[in-house]
Amino acid sequence: MRAAAAGGVGRLPRPGRSKRARRRRWLGLAYVAVPLAFYLAIVIQPLIATVNYSFYQWDGVSPATWVGGRNYTTFWSTPDMAAAFGHVVVLIVMFGFIPLALGLLCATLLSRATVKGQSVYRWFLFLPQVLTTVVVAIIWKRIYSPDGPLNTILGLIGLGALRRNWLGDFTWALPSLGMIGVWGGFGFTMLLFLAGIIAIPTELFEAARLDGANRWHEFRYIILPSLRGQMAIALTLTITGALRTFDLVYVTTQGGPGNATTTPALLLYQLAFVNPSVGQASAIGIVMAVLCMIIAVVITRVVEGRDK
């Protein structure tokens, strides 16, 4: 330590360190400059522009009229808006929490048990994730149709009374859409949890066994605490995904019957491209973005808080 020997103190003199550090910092900035420029142009600039649009009444081409915060103060009186957010709550449960529980169950079973051909099961359960939503929607439209497989099976097993027009029924349309989310989402959560469980050192399970732990104890005291990080990721992605649901609804019901399956994203699309009322659409977009950020922060904080 040349500096220490010369100065007789245990600290590096500032000038030498800061010069090197400054060079390193500029080098770092140079590395991120290009992606940062893209990020600013593709994400930040449109975000700022959207915030700006949300304060105007604008058809997209004519000169806009400044309306201040009116698009926000009248937010809940936008037709179907309250209903749309109500529907999102149902979808959050079905897209987020049910796949979380099912994924946890499947991952635990598939990781701990030695089942013949389990990689086939994993592949099969993950399959919905690799399909695009439009394909998924078309498949399920067929499954839910009046003479589709679901009603046929119900009839065959003596549950004919339960047959109905799943996507055309005011009561059942939303849960039916939610079930598509469950089917599509739990393969993802399962894979995420499976990776998490595999990363747990096997010594922990062996030690627990020696202490007399059974399968439930293993799950409760080893698997569950180890998967907090994965659960946070799964919940953040599935819940924000539910909040942004558009393509599934657009392809299957267009928000119908009546307004039984409208979502904020569907209203945003209608206001931005069909009506067009770009200011109101932008306000919806901003509110959704803020909600997504809050949800992500809350979930992360809860998990991080527990880890501390």
Partner: protein
């Protein structure tokens, strides 16, 4: 404690805030100026003397059903050898949703197919993006076309009134109507005749039902197409001028006065009598169309151009444009595709000649040869296609009675969604004809208040 992370967060938030504040002074769409599109000067004398001219056409016509466009453009080239029409075709939905941005572009298409109504052509007129065609209308005598068709593309030059004022788009010689299709094979099986009036239609439905067959093929799962039945029923009960006035927002007509309640009442009655396809609430429009073509129902309320009949089916299927039970006049929802000219078009006289050509006799013949419904001109239908003959006959009855009413969804940007949802509520027993009419009026009033 102030950490580096929190400093970064504060910095990012401040940056966003500053950016937003800076942009707040930036009015989207530019500063407001009084938009008032004067009529473009019109002259067709010099087209052949202009030298080589290229104009661009953006439309949605594609596939086999667009042969008439290719043929029309070939004929146009023969008439004006110095003019090249550079054509681009995109999907209808994409065209409608991006037309305003495409026309706002510094190099927009010269001629473009547009959707009618406040939310489409209305926006373009208001923004001064399309040309006022009044002088060309005089030059080419477009007033020879039915006034109910021309009205569909008329706006006040400031874009504040629809259905009156100046012409901002022209029709093409191809129409799309809503009417009733029938399957004579099913009617014969039930011992029913092809109806010639509304009472005959209901008698036939009753007979078909009594024979254990489905009178009206229907699927209401997807919003939009599920309204065809209501709109055709409305055309039986509403006065054409009142429906026109309502859609064009003259402010003189209420939703209760346009036959909507009577139509909704009939629809509920048909539903109660079991005349609609069972489980219609879970059936998509496309599946209902397919089922009807496979002989599963006697009638279907549908848009023309929705079916691809085989030569055998052309002998048994047919189309009805029945007269109103009250007035005896034929009233029907029908329109042509509107074609507009960009206000930045460098050769308006050439573009106007193309508009005129697309609305011409020769184009109408190409349309019919292509198996599509003509408009504006009397043309010879193809031989040995009785089904198509009935469609042409129906369209000509509308021409004769000048009975076109516009698509109802042009009345407000949200009307199609409102109406489609109301039809679903009505048929599910969650709404009444009165609540449907109230919802339509509410939608209308809300839009008028913001216009």
């Amino acid at each position: 404690m102030v950490t580096r992370r929190s400093l970064l967060g504060v910095g990012a938030a401040a940056g966003l805030g500053l950016g937003a504040a800076a942009l707040a002074g930036c009015t989207p769409g530019g500063r407001a100026t009084a938009q008032n599109s004067p009529a473009a000067a019109a002259s067709n004398k010099s087209i052949s003397k202009l030298g080589p001219v290229t104009i661009t056409l953006l439309d949605f016509w594609s596939g086999d059903t667009a042969k008439w466009v290719t043929n029309t453009l070939k004929a146009f080239k023969t008439k004006y050898p110095n003019v090249t029409v550079k054509r681009t075709s995109i999907d209808w939905g994409q065209l409608v949703q991006t037309a305003n941005l495409r026309l706002k572009d510094p190099t927009p298409p010269d001629v473009i197919t547009v959707n009618n109504g406040w939310q489409s052509l209305g926006v373009l007129v208001k923004a001064g993006l399309v040309t006022n065609l009044d002088n060309f209308a005089k030059l080419y005598q477009w007033n020879k076309f039915p006034s109910t068709i021309l009205r569909q593309t008329e706006f006040s030059p400031d874009g504040k009134k629809m259905g009156e004022g100046s012409l901002f788009g022209t029709p093409v010689s191809n129409s799309s109507l809503i009417g009733i299709y029938y399957n004579d094979a099913v009617l014969k099986k039930a011992g029913a005749d092809i109806p010639t009036d509304f009472a005959g239609f209901e008698t036939a439905c009753a007979k078909v039902k009594a024979a254990g067959l489905i009178p009206i093929g229907y699927g209401s799962e997807d919003k939009g197409p599920n309204t065809a039945i209501l709109l055709q029923l409305q055309d039986f009960f509403g006065a054409a001028d009142k429906i026109n006035d309502f859609v064009y927002s003259t402010g003189t007509v209420k939703a209760a006065d346009i036959g909507m309640k009577e139509a909704a009442t009939k629809l509920v009655e048909y539903n109660r009598k079991g005349w609609l396809t069972p489980n219609y609430a879970g059936i998509q429009s496309a599946d209902a169309i397919d089922a009807f073509q496979r002989g599963k129902a006697a009638f279907q309320f549908q848009y023309t151009g929705s079916y691809a009949f085989t030569p055998a089916q052309q002998q048994t299927f047919g189309y009805l444009q029945l007269p109103q039970p009250g007035s005896g006049k034929v009233v029907g929802t029908g329109a042509s595709t509107a074609v507009s000219m960009s206000s930045k078009c460098k050769h308006p006289e050439v573009a106007a000649a193309l508009l005129d050509f697309l609305a011409g006799q020769q184009c109408a013949q190409y349309v019919v040869d292509n198996g599509l419904l003509p408009l504006l001109h009397q043309v010879q239908g193809p031989s040995n296609n009785p089904e198509f003959d009935t469609e042409i006959k129906g369209q000509q009855s509308l021409d004769r009675d000048n009975g076109y009413v516009p698509y109802f969804d042009w009345s407000t940007p949200t009307m199609l969604d409102t109406l489609a949802g109301q039809v679903q509520l009505l048929l599910a027993g969650r709404g009444t004809p009165d609540s449907l009419v109230t919802a339509v009026q509410k939608d209308y009033d809300k839009f008028q208040a913001t216009r």
